[in-house]
């Protein structure tokens, strides 16, 4: 605001800053978009190529490969937790039609919960409909492998994929708001739970923290194991089950700032 040039805004120094920022955003976008929204299954050792001269990480990848067979990368766009979590959860439910039916029922009821919290129906509808549409489409495919392929295709179509992410973000926000008392103590900076939801949960591209994961798990009535891999001194990776004590249905690899899906 104070930065507006009062001289004619042709291409003076004020616009230069903006153009540099614009360029930076463009570069970030290009890097991010070169990764598929959700990638193919890859062996764990494929991670080695990212850390060829880094013994700390190579050691940890070895540890990881003793427990997990595969990794599925997701696009590092700030939505990775929500995208990875939803994908992995639906994918493993394709093996168990009862679980999937129950999940569909849970999602069916979830919209009402959001409306009760005051979300305007027409802003929620499209995301809900898309979420249900994807669930029903993969349910109606008899062959499990074909269903998995369809899920993969849909999750790599930006339109579907982003709408799935938005709906889970809304459900996560809804859960946080319903259980404000519990979650308020995890929020820093004197913000209310509702502020936090508006600022850190509902907007796309906002990265996820512990609190997002706890609330997303609670909203979908499931558990997730997060394997933390960083430059820390321990030889093995630290595992965290969220919510604590819940059997995980989804396994995620966390490297600072990013989540990918792991397969046992």
């Amino acid at each position: 605001m104070g930065d507006e040039q009062e001289s004619e805004p042709v291409i003076g120094t004020g616009n230069q800053d903006e153009l540099i920022m614009q360029q930076q955003r463009q570069i970030e976008r290009e890097i991010s978009e070169s990764t598929a929204l959700v990638g193919e299954l890859e062996p764990i050792v494929s991670l080695n190529s990212e850390y060829s001269n880094d013994n700390v990480y190579l050691e940890k990848i070895k540890d990881l490969s003793s427990k997990y067979k595969h990794i599925r990368r997701t696009r590092p766009d700030g939505n990775c937790f929500f995208r990875a979590f939803t994908y992995a959860m639906i994918e493993q439910m394709l093996e168990n039609s009862n679980e999937l039916e129950q999940f569909i029922k849970l999602i069916e009821c979830s919209k009402m919960g959001l409306l009760r919290l005051g979300f305007p129906e027409f802003t929620v509808d499209d995301f809900y409909e898309t979420f249900m549409d994807v669930l029903k489409r993969v349910r109606d495919i008899k062959n499990v492998n074909d269903a998995k392929k369809e899920l993969h295709t849909l999750f790599n179509e930006q339109g579907y994929s982003d709408y799935m992410v938005v709906y889970l973000r809304l459900l996560t926000s809804g859960h946080l708001q319903r259980d404000q008392e519990f979650y308020s103590c995890f929020i820093e900076g004197g913000r209310t739970v509702v502020d936090f939801c508006h600022q850190e949960v509902e907007p796309m591209y906002k990265e996820s923290d512990h609190i997002h994961i706890m609330a997303a798990c609670a909203a979908l009535e499931t558990g997730v194991r997060v394997v933390y891999m960083d430059r820390g001194s321990s030889k093995s990776n630290i595992e965290h089950d969220l919510p604590e004590g819940t059997a995980p249905s989804v396994h995620l690899l966390y490297r600072p700032g990013h989540y990918d899906i792991l397969y046992l």
């Binding site: 605001m1 507006e4 805004p9 903006e18 027409f122 930006q158 938005v166 796309m204 906002k206």
Partner: protein, 275 residues
């Protein structure tokens, strides 16, 4: 080499690709929501030839220096709306000459975190056009001087009041007279023009009141503490301009009778020496 238009500018028509189906249905629903439950002081029409473009007038709220002004915005929704926010431009700038607010540049740029043009809470797909317009409306506040980040205290005592005087004058000059006369030849949709003209007539007495209350400033210097620009206050000329606009807008017979009642009021009060 042609310079790229700045990213925020909705009048840049080269955004490529097509509006997704979900985006187009959602824009329609956003508009319907505004028509069914119109926020006070916000008037909106969709563009006739391009679904992604929305025209909006925000009417300056009473008891602010923007009181009675017509602030015309163009909104352009991206292909994946509402995943990303619309681009927004303020068109009421007297052709890029008036900065109406620390957050509203004279280039038309709107600095607002939900538009991604400022720091703070980002856009969310759970927001909609009406919530966006209400956020913009809230920028047009009682003491806009303090909208400037870090300006919790006046740099020079009296700055906020001086800024309000400047904004009040420019609101009447640019956002009222300039908009009704369409001196900058903006392509304002006819529906919004009609609303502006009707609102102008309804609000006319209030415009006169505002000028009366500030007539002592006529001929003095107005200072914009941000640009350090200095302008001569022209309230007397503005009053004449307002009267002329009113005369042009009123159906012939009505305009005669109203003028008569106006001049009789002038006999009793001190209105005669305003012009």
């Amino acid at each position: 080499m042609p310079m790229p238009k700045p990213e925020w500018d909705p009048t840049d028509s080269a955004d490529g690709g097509t509006l997704s189906f979900t985006a187009s249905t959602r824009i329609k629903r956003d508009l319907r929501c505004i028509f069914n439950d119109p926020p006070a002081g916000i008037f909106v029409v969709g563009d006739e030839s391009n679904l992604r473009i929305v025209h909006a007038i925000i009417f300056g709220v009473v008891d602010t220096p923007y009181e009675g002004g017509f602030f015309y915005f163009i909104l352009r929704c991206p292909n994946d709306y509402p995943i990303h926010p619309p681009k927004v431009k303020l068109m009421t700038t007297n052709a890029g000459r008036v900065r109406f607010n620390p957050n509203l540049y004279k280039s038309g740029k709107v600095c607002l975190s939900i538009l991604g043009t400022w720091e703070g809470p980002a856009w969310s797909p759970a927001l909609q056009l009406s919530s966006l317009l209400i956020s913009i409306q809230s920028l047009l506040c009682e003491n806009p001087y303090f909208n400037e980040p870090g300006f919790v205290k006046e740099h020079v005592p009296g700055d906020s009041k001086r800024y309000n005087e400047y904004i009040r004058h420019e609101t009447l000059r640019v956002a009222v007279c300039g908009m009704i006369e369409n001196e900058c030849h903006l392509n304002i949709p006819s529906k919004l023009r009609e609303i502006m003209e009707k609102t102008f007539l309804e609000f006319y007495d209030q415009y006169v009141e505002i000028i009366k209350a500030n007539i002592h400033l006529h001929g003095t210097e107005l200072i914009d503490p941000f640009s350090k620009g200095r302008f001569v206050c022209q309230y007397k000329a503005l009053l004449t301009r307002l009267e002329k606009i009113k005369g042009n807008l009123m159906p012939q017979s009505e305009s005669v009778s109203k003028q008569a009642s106006c001049s009789s009021a002038g006999d009793n009060g001190n209105e005669g020496n305003l012009t």
